[in-house]
Amino acid sequence: MTTETEEHLPDDTLQRFFDGEATEGEANDLQAQLETELELARLERLERLGGLLRDHADTLGADIDSNALFDGIQAGIDKAKSEGPRLRLIQGQRRQRAGVAVALAVAIAAAVALVFYLKPPADDNLAEAHPFDTTQEVIVHDLHPVEVHPPGGSEVEDVDFGGNTGTIFQVPGEHGQPLAVVWIDEEAHP
């Protein structure tokens, strides 16, 4: 088995020569060097290898629908393009969530409105069965404002009978309000 040494031509140069892509100077140099058997042998091997690859490619190409293949490739490209905004999705997730929430709310509202719109008219008997759904007219004759009065009656907060004794009690007033009475026992003061 032959190994490449430093004096050998680089494979890529040989490949370009073989493919006809080498410059004119390179082609001349290569042609001179290919005169040697070693290089010719390597070239022959490359030719055989290329033939094998072409044969294999022809075999595969016969089984492959090129249109379907390119359609698949195009679909993959389109998919990649369509998935491109994923980056924006990550940055704008909240906005999109808000948008989804608003859309969801609108959809729910529309559904509710549709339900009420399509709701069959209520039965009269049912309406009578719900008093809160009925309205009654109430006529108010007395519209005077309500007056708040202080607590009625009177009460003793403090008392000093001095040298006397006494009693504190209450009697009901005209409206039942308690009225304070201080009764002094004046035995000491005839």
Partner: protein, 157 residues
């Protein structure tokens, strides 16, 4: 003719002034009008003064034990805050009333005392809170074979 015109103008002016000026019986701002009623109550049969008919409290026990009620004194008072006012009682003692304050709920806090000059106070201190128009009573003093019942009513309901 001129004198008659002047007379009409003066009469109209007088009527106008009378309408604008506060009436003589109207309380001045900051004063509370009231009434002190001194009643002589006796257990002996007698008359009940018709003027006491509106005081239903005197028909309640123990006042209903009295079969005679006569008004000895009926005095209007005008109380100004922290300004005591004295009322002479028939037995020579003096009832002193002093408006301490008008409470936020409209009730009146009043300080009451009964004394005779030169003697120890008969009733040194009584502090009452009363609603305007509702009376309170101080009873028990002996007088002319009966008992004095003092009713105090301040303000109007």
């Amino acid at each position: 003719m001129m004198n008659r015109t002047h007379s009409l103008l003066l009469a109209g002016l007088a009527i106008l002034c009378g309408a604008i000026a506060p009436s003589a019986g109207q309380a001045q701002p900051g004063t509370i009008r009231g009434e002190v009623l001194v009643v002589l109550a006796k257990e002996a049969p007698g008359e009940i003064d018709p003027a006491l008919a509106d005081l239903s409290a005197l028909r309640q026990p123990p006042f209903n034990a009295f079969r005679s009620l006569s008004i000895l004194e009926r005095q209007a008072v005008r109380l100004r805050q922290n300004t005591p006012q004295d009322i002479n009682l028939p037995n020579g003692r003096v009832l002193r009333l002093e408006l301490q304050r008008v409470m936020p709920d409209g009730r009146l806090r009043v300080r009451v005392s009964i004394k005779r000059e030169g003697e120890d106070a008969y009733l040194p201190l009584l502090q009452v809170v009363t609603a305007p128009g509702d009376p309170f009573f101080v009873a028990g003093q002996s007088h002319q074979g009966g008992t004095l019942v003092i009713g105090v009513r301040l303000g109007s309901a």
